[in-house]
Symmetry: C2
Subunit: 552 residues, 2 copies
């Protein structure tokens, strides 16, 4: 089955979309009036510069205009602005699609020999500039892993499945489903993103409270590096020095090109069930989630929206008149005026689910929660991969949209939430516009949780990027200052790279840079991602091996 055609200038597949419901537009407009829609230009009107000459490269090489344009960037807000205005910052000089790990290694070898920068691309869904081609004086190719797909080994005894790096979410689950198994890793990009991308960026899926994030799902990996093939055999645990798998996880293509990964899989559950709970306020919701996790009440999905996201959420769905009236009555009551929706999901046998739900009910009731049935849960589960399409529709309706996410210990969470809101509101006010900020917790741990913010602001012609940059800067600085991490699951890319030193400190940067230089001494792989780099041409001035003088 050939992959479905991807939209060239926005999220997802051609033909798929999610329109902005009129109630949602009205709700948004009453808080932050729409700006000027950013109407996309035709693909033919895009500026695609002349490709620079390249030496012969192994594998399938495409140098045509459409391939180059469609591999120029990912799905960050600046990426979308570039595509919609037809001014991509840079296009690769060619797109290379190796057929197997040996060809990946051969491309990398040629790139090192000829000093060609290589942007490694899986599903192309990075929202942090992780696959955005940088403007450079030297040639750049995109190495797409689209042809490295499929299950290569299934160890049923150990519940380990080895997939090629370019295998997408649905392909992973189809291959495992045929054996009665599943991975259960479902990031919002599930339909598009790939095993290699998940590992490279430390991705997390909506079922992470049950199955864990990709960090814990990876048992082994294989990489092509500029110093040869690197195989980290699957191991359940080890004390043989630092866990180098964890250095590969989150390496974002800087250490090598992940060609395969061995993942920890599990039996498919007999049943799945979920419910919607409304809690009186954000504090109650956080306390409820914390207790559920810390007291070990089993669950697979947990998603708590803050009052603003809860209110926005009700504008997105078409409710029957009866349900709509009940919803208005509930959120109109004094008790739930600041109500927060909590989605909880379980998987297992009916008996296990029943027990877990009973235990969860005791907890949510202790925090003033009210169970309101499972229809909202089923709708969310059905639609969850469609939500990103809404961003494109909103941009076409005059709103900028971006997401910011972090994680922090429970102790810091409420203050961090308030601080990010304050920082964004101040930043917007300083530039003369208003924002709407939504937030949810969708990954919780015994010691803390993620916060996922969505910000809407009015688009102003010619100032789309400057406004975005100021919001991004204000939010990022605030969450770092408040004990949050730079990203819970979007990664670093080029966008967060300047902020990373604040999080990991000078020793952390020194270690990471040393690791990158050890395996990619010429700096050909994803320059500028993860770590802010000198341009490739400068780095290579020093010869084929990095000298220690640069370490200082």
């Amino acid at each position: 089955m050939p992959p479905r055609a991807r939209r060239w200038n926005g999220w997802g597949f051609d033909g798929e979309a999610m329109a902005v419901p009129s109630r949602a537009a009205a709700w948004l407009a009453s808080r932050a009036p729409a700006g000027v829609p950013l109407v996309p230009v035709d693909e033919a009107a895009c500026e695609v510069g002349e490709a620079r000459p390249l030496p012969p490269l192994p594998g399938a090489v495409a140098g045509d205009r459409a391939s180059r344009l469609r591999h120029a960037c990912g799905q960050s807000f600046p990426d979308l602005v570039a595509l919609r205005t037809g001014r991509p910052l840079a296009c690769p000089d060619a797109v290379v699609e190796p057929e197997d790990a040996a060809q990946v290694a051969a491309v990398l070898e040629a790139a090192v020999r000829h000093r060609i920068a290589v942007i490694v691309r899986g599903g192309g869904t990075s929202v942090v500039g992780g696959v955005t081609v940088p403007p450079r004086p030297d040639p750049v190719v995109v190495l797409s892993l689209a042809r490295l797909r499929g299950l290569v080994d299934l160890d049923r005894q150990s519940l380990l499945a080895t997939f090629l790096a370019g295998t997408t979410g649905p392909e992973v689950e189809a291959a495992l489903g045929a054996a009665g198994l599943r991975l259960g890793h479902e990031p919002q990009s599930f339909e598009l993103s790939t095993v290699g991308g998940w590992v490279a960026t430390r991705s997390a899926g909506v079922r992470s409270n049950g199955v864990g994030t990709i960090d814990g799902l990876v048992a082994g990996a294989e990489l092509a590096t500029a110093r040869g093939a690197w195989r980290l055999a699957p191991q359940p645990a080890s004390a043989a020095g630092p866990e180098l798998r964890r250095l590969v996880l989150g390496s974002e293509g800087r250490l090598g090109i992940i060609t395969a990964a061995t993942l920890r899989v599990r039996a498919r559950p007999e049943a799945e069930h979920g419910t919607v709970v409304v809690l009186p306020g954000w504090g109650d919701g956080l306390a409820c989630c914390r207790e559920l996790v810390q007291s070990g009440v089993p669950h697979e999905i947990m998603r708590l929206s803050d009052p603003t996201e809860t209110a926005f959420g009700t504008t997105l769905v078409e409710l029957s008149p009866l349900v709509a009236r009940a919803s208005r009555a509930l959120f109109g009551s004094r008790r739930f005026a600041e109500g927060c929706v909590l989605l909880l999901g379980w998987a297992g046998t009916d008996r296990e689910i029943g027990r877990a739900r009973t235990a969860a009910r005791r907890v949510w009731r202790r925090h003033g929660g009210l169970g309101v049935g499972s229809s909202g849960w089923r709708r969310w589960l059905r639609d969850r991969f469609r939500h990103p399409y809404l961003r494109d529709a909103l941009i076409s309706a005059g709103w900028g949209v971006d997401t910011l996410e972090t994680a922090a210990p429970w102790r810091e969470l409420a203050a961090l939430h308030a601080a990010v809101r304050g920082a964004l509101e101040r930043a917007a006010a300083g530039r003369g516009f208003e924002i709407v900020l939504l937030c949810h917790v969708s990954h919780a741990y015994r010691d803390g949780a993620s916060l996922y913010f969505t910000v809407f602001w009015p688009l102003r012609p010619g100032r789309e990027l400057a406004d975005w940059r100021e919001l991004k800067r204000a939010a990022t600085a605030t969450l770092l200052a408040g004990g949050g991490t730079l990203s819970h699951h979007h990664g670093v890319g080029t966008m967060h790279a300047p902020f990373l030193p604040r999080e990991i400190g000078a020793p952390g940067v020194a270690v990471l840079r040393a690791a990158v230089r050890a395996l990619d001494p010429d700096g050909v792989l994803n320059p500028g991602v993860l770590l802010v780099d000198e341009p490739l041409s400068r780095a290579t001035d020093h010869g084929p091996r990095i000298t220690s003088g640069e370490e200082a």
Copy 2:
């Protein structure tokens, strides 16, 4: 309360011991006759060379003979041979005990300035040469973290507790117990080993199936490095590049000196219970453990002994005549002639424990298991920290004793067990003696488990180390070839360092070495641990910064 006095030439505390029961000695002797006891010399008879002159160092500095001798090595078999024969390989020129993190940093700075090698020491329980002072032409000091003890922050909301690195197991649990909390990390060295040592060596405790290994218990860490202080703030999860905590975990003092760690703690359970199950054979036992873990039956402790360990275990305990008869009848039956003892332990409320035990019983019965009550479990729980004392008693009785441990996917486990036995038996036969080999699984994961081997052999005067070396080499090569890791929880030390490249590959070594050089460019910290190094004097010939020529 001052720490109890440690035995200078063996495991544990002065006054504690575990004698070899006569039944155990007879059982062993019938399989591998005892050799010549290695009778320990007096402390006064030990060779302790002249201390080389040192510059003034910050903190408490001890240069006396006893301090130097008592900090010369850890608890590996070669360490014990050295101490018993009075010929320690090398003694430090001084022992430094900094009072706080600032003094740790000051000592490290002085060491770098004066090119003094620093051996970092927590509880001193390494069995792989991790704290053994190497013979070197240059001065060597031991930096003991014995004075950095105690709880420095407790975040009850996030269940995070920050301890100074030198805090021992009992001190950790006492501080947490006062707050109704526990860590639950109980390696066999629990009474002696320290938070910093656990993190540095990726330790695992007997409750790991319930609470996880130290890898998952560490949320944050602070280190003194030769490039300044490094703080990795506690985070529940992150995608901000590779998880550098995991590079600190298992770094064995090569990246810096861990001064504090923030650990994930939990509420103390209301109750604890355990039981003993006998399974018909090793294969049944492995299958039973695998099903318990993969089907998610809750438990905290799991320990499956192979038939030989099961048989040896019955010789260690004093049973009432009635129980002894029952035991003989059981293991004398055809069904349980190759019987394997499985210990299972649970913690939680009585109700949770009851449910889990019922679920577990269904599983063990499916594998032919027979529950034989909880008295053996209680005895094991009570005595488990005393078992290492037996090693010293056995050496005094003429047997060499060493332990080897690994982990591998379930698919490889049975073959790996057989291969290690074969390799050790062949190695022993080649040198003209016999061995007894015990094995147990004590840490299990959805995708695999640990194997922990104990080997006994007859000591031969003057050949103690050569015989040991050949056994160690044969076993290590075999477990690496069979898909096992070099160590599940003992670490690398100096002993496994030559084997590490086989496990992590040339790219892995390049990355590790680069990380070490980035943070310790002069190579003063724990030289020879983790990675085989050139002597410090050679490394420093090249000047204060390592040049890239050495990377090749």
